[in-house]
């Protein structure tokens, strides 16, 4: 069997295995969310100021909340089978539309954060490992420790104070300028401008992780037998470091990045809140407090799918980075 065909078979097999996992996740999420007191109708009526019990009963009937739980679950599963994520009664919009709306903002933040954090993390870790126990190593380690230990919301607010209020370089919040409503390339530039501070804030935290991981991983690989062999063969130190050791040291970093892509989709609630970034994290957070269960289940399902997909991609990248790892 060719290499490509073997890979395809592997991908298909993994996707089939994912179906029961995702179903189990949906069912678990569904019952977990039922544990919360109160429902969407309580919240809507509470916000409205006052509502009659008849009106609230009517709303519950309309939302399907008066049905027994197993029926609600069956209806939900049936809809998911045909890729219908249901309707958010709070937002009066289909869930899929709401999620798609926010998807772009989340992807922008997520991708730029991962690129920045992984990129800089690898570089810093590499520098620290190469210049082990020098001032450079110490400085990088201290930097990583501080950024890792500082609460995200505080970093965000401090960046706002310094770069928005004092220096005036960046806007404090939002995704674009809503007084001007730019179009075309001006708008792209404007959104990029708004993206800078949230990306830096969110990456600082992850950057520390990757730096530490990369440094440790480089040091571990540098002590391996193949390095001694390469050195004995007369390979230059630079080639040993940047070709042999680096490639092997990347494996744990890739693993970590894979795990975090899934976490990032919901894990940026704090950054989205501080910078008023209209992403999925905030949407999920608000949905929880509004007991908008359809919307929450939709977001959870999306996260689950993403984690499954990313794990698959990571496994494929493994075999590219290290041909000894076979997919089967």
């Amino acid at each position: 069997m060719s290499h490509f065909a073997r890979r395809m078979r592997y991908v298909v097999k993994r996707l089939l295995q994912a179906i029961p996992i995702v179903l189990a996740i949906i069912v678990m999420n569904f019952f977990l969310l039922q544990l919360a007191e109160g429902d969407a109708v309580d919240v809507l009526a509470g916000e409205a100021g006052s509502a009659t019990p008849e009106y609230m009963a009517e709303l519950r009937a309309k939302f399907g909340l008066d049905q027994p739980l197993p029926v609600q679950l069956a209806v939900y599963l049936k809809n998911v089978m045909v890729f219908d994520l249901g309707y958010s009664f709070r937002h009066e919009m289909p869930v899929s539309e709401l999620i798609l709306d926010r998807m772009l903002a989340t992807l922008l933040l997520m991708v730029s954060t991962i690129v920045l954090a992984v990129g800089f993390g690898i570089v810093l870790g590499l520098i620290a490992a190469v210049s082990l126990n020098t001032w450079r190593d110490t400085a990088i380690s201290i930097f990583a420790l501080i950024t890792y230990a500082t609460p995200l919301f505080w970093v965000g607010l401090m960046l706002i104070v310094v770069f928005s209020l004092n220096l005036g370089w960046f806007p404090t919040s939002g995704m674009e300028n809503v007084a001007m409503f730019y179009e075309g390339w001006d708008r792209v530039w404007n959104i990029a401008h708004h993206l800078v501070l949230p990306t830096i804030t969110l990456s600082l935290f992850y950057l520390a992780l990757y730096t530490r991981l990369m440094r440790a991983s480089m040091l571990e690989q540098a002590g391996q037998d193949y390095v001694t062999t390469a050195r004995a063969k007369g390979v230059t130190e630079n080639r040993i470091m940047f070709v042999h050791v680096l490639r092997n040291a990347l494996l744990p970093v890739v693993t970590m990045a894979g795990v975090q892509v899934g976490a990032l989709i919901g894990g940026s609630v704090i950054v989205e809140s501080v910078f008023a970034w209209p992403g999925l994290g905030m949407l999920a957070f608000e949905a929880l407090f509004a007991r908008d269960l359809n919307l929450l289940l939709g977001i959870f399902l999306l996260s689950a799918l993403l984690v499954v997909a990313v794990n698959l991609v990571v496994d494929l990248i493994y075999s590219t980075l290290d041909p000894r790892i076979e997919v089967e």
């Binding site: 109160g38 509470g46 916000e47 100021g49 006052s50 009659t52 674009e176 007084a179 008023a276």
Partner: protein, 531 residues
């Protein structure tokens, strides 16, 4: 006596406002970005009185009236009105030549449909405001005659764009109003037209070029932005990305700092129609709060000035009655009632407890209870911490409970599973609209939020409340409410703490944004930017 107030009087008042302001020439144009927090669930102000909806919808819809800062009626869609001698017929003469944002003409049929089919049926407070309205006649396209079963003087205070928005019949008729496209795509007659709503970001409204007020609005565009984090809202205000934030969007701790910064100002104007009152609700059906003595003692042991000065940064007024002192304007507020000390009176409170037989045990504890706190921000949590300490001084041991909104609402109003609850109520411009719901026996409505959760029931008070609702004579009415307040000062199913003062923080470049008693729930039609 038939009294007829022609629009001319009000127009003169309007002229004065314009005259006064024209010393500084208004500039047309520009975009006002202001804070809307949290993001509203919809823009259906005819279904919900939710705060964030009120920040947006009154820019799009008009009411029959507006109210100036002294609570005088200012004509809006109704040019003038006429109340018959027996108070049972109210005739509104509607403005001609007004069109909806989609170009259809506005007529008396819209008013009839709005009040009878929408506000009386699906609005949270409408069934109360319009409860005496039996029918509405429309003799011609610009006259609406309200036929009432009993006089309803308070109704004329509930006709603002926020409280009773007039909605287009042609877009709602034959539909389920709770499930209509109008909720997210509003069409009104107001100064601004709805353009788009980017979920999680902003709502954009553009100038209505055909607005019926000549030359208004000045602004080209109004954008409401959602910023979840309070510190970021302050930073955005300082950075001039937003120019206006009301209803505590900028927390008091930052507002007092901005107040002292050049270029920014703080005002407490624009909340007199809302009348927010902070209070404690007691569960009067269970131990220990079924005894009025302990409720009274708690009211005496809490230092209202301490709460205001230390937690709300000096913004607020100690409560002195079950009614806000703002009702003095309509003669309904009674001064000099007992049991509302501005500063704690610990000795007197302990004496009340001793007399009622709440003896202290070995640890000095006379009673224990769980105190629930309204989950609307950190200030309330701090207030709870203060109360825990203050009431320990009179031997009442409290445990604090802070839950999320749905859990809390269900506990207080559906399960009645509480002992005492810190809360705040909007008393609105008339006690019938905002206060009756807290005390009447008919307001013990399990599952309905913000009504009589104390389950206090007093036939004498019920009789007074229903008399007060129908009394057209001002002097007799104030006599009735004096008795109401006297009873509540002794019985204390609810201990009123202080009259809240919400803060509006704004950039000084923004002018004439507070020309209506509705404040942030008003229209911004005369607001302009001086840059």
């Amino acid at each position: 006596m038939t009294f007829r107030r022609w629009a001319t009087g009000a127009l003169c008042a309007l002229g004065l406002v314009f005259g006064g302001a024209s010393a500084m020439a208004q500039k047309a144009g520009g975009t006002l970005v202001y804070i809307v927090q949290p993001e509203p669930p919809s823009l259906a102000s005819f279904l919900s009185t939710s705060g964030p909806i009120g920040l947006v919808a009154p820019k799009i819809y008009d009411g029959l009236f507006d109210y100036d800062n002294d609570l005088n009626i200012v004509p809006a869609l109704a040019e003038s009105f006429d109340v018959s001698e027996d108070g049972k017929t109210v005739t509104f003469n509607l403005r001609q030549g007004v069109t909806w944002h989609d170009g259809e003409p506005f007529t008396s049929a819209d008013v009839q449909f709005t009040v009878m089919e929408i506000l009386s049926k699906v609005h949270p407070r409408g069934p109360n405001s319009f409860r005496e309205v039996t029918s509405i006649d429309t003799p011609d396209a610009h006259t609406a005659v309200f036929n009432l079963a009993n006089p309803a003087p308070y109704m004329l205070r509930a006709l603002s764009a926020y409280e009773s928005p007039i909605v287009p019949k042609h877009l709602l008729e034959g539909q389920d109003p709770r499930n209509s496209d109008l909720a997210t795509n509003p069409v009104g007659t107001g100064p601004f037209k709805f353009v788009e709503w980017q979920k999680g970001q902003y709502i954009r409204l553009d100038k209505n070029e055909n607005y019926w007020k000549e030359g208004l609005p000045y602004l080209d565009r109004v954008v409401g932005r959602f910023i979840p984090d309070a510190s970021t809202r302050t930073a955005a205000m300082e950075n001039e990305e937003v120019m206006y934030g009301a209803y505590g969007a900028i927390p008091n701790i930052d507002a007092v700092r901005l107040r002292d910064t050049d270029g920014f100002s703080v005002t407490t104007d624009g909340y007199s129609m809302i009348n927010p009152m902070a209070l404690i609700e007691f569960n009067t059906t269970t131990e220990p709060f079924n005894d009025p003595a302990i409720r009274k003692a708690i009211s005496m042991a809490l230092d209202r000035e301490f709460l205001i000065d230390n937690i709300w940064f000096g913004y607020g007024k100690p409560a002195t009655s079950a009614l806000s002192s703002n009702f003095a304007a309509t003669g309904l507020y009674k001064e000099g009632l007992p049991n509302y000390p501005a500063n704690a009176d610990i000795d007197a409170a302990i004496a009340v407890l001793e007399e009622a037989g709440f003896a202290a045990d070995a640890d000095g504890v006379r009673a224990t209870a769980v105190l629930d706190l309204i989950p609307y921000g950190e200030d309330w949590r701090r207030a709870g911490e203060y109360m825990k300490q203050a009431l320990a001084d009179i031997g009442i041991e409290l445990e604090l409970r802070y839950e999320d909104v749905p859990t809390w609402l269900k506990r207080i109003y559906a399960d009645y599973d509480f002992a005492m609850n810190v809360n705040y109520f909007y008393q609105l411009p008339d006690p019938v609209l905002g206060v009756h719901r807290h005390y009447g026996t008919d307001q013990i409505r399990q599952g309905t939020h913000f009504v009589n959760s104390s389950r206090y029931s007093n036939p004498e008070l019920d009789a007074l409340l229903s008399a007060g609702a129908q009394e057209a004579d001002a002097a007799k009415r104030s006599e009735i409410y004096a008795q109401v307040q006297q009873i509540l000062a002794e019985d204390k199913p609810v201990a009123n703490l202080f009259e809240m003062e919400f803060l509006t923080v704004y950039n000084d470049k923004l002018k004439d944004h507070a020309t209506s008693a509705l404040g942030a729930y008003g229209s911004f039609d005369r607001a302009w930017i001086d840059d």
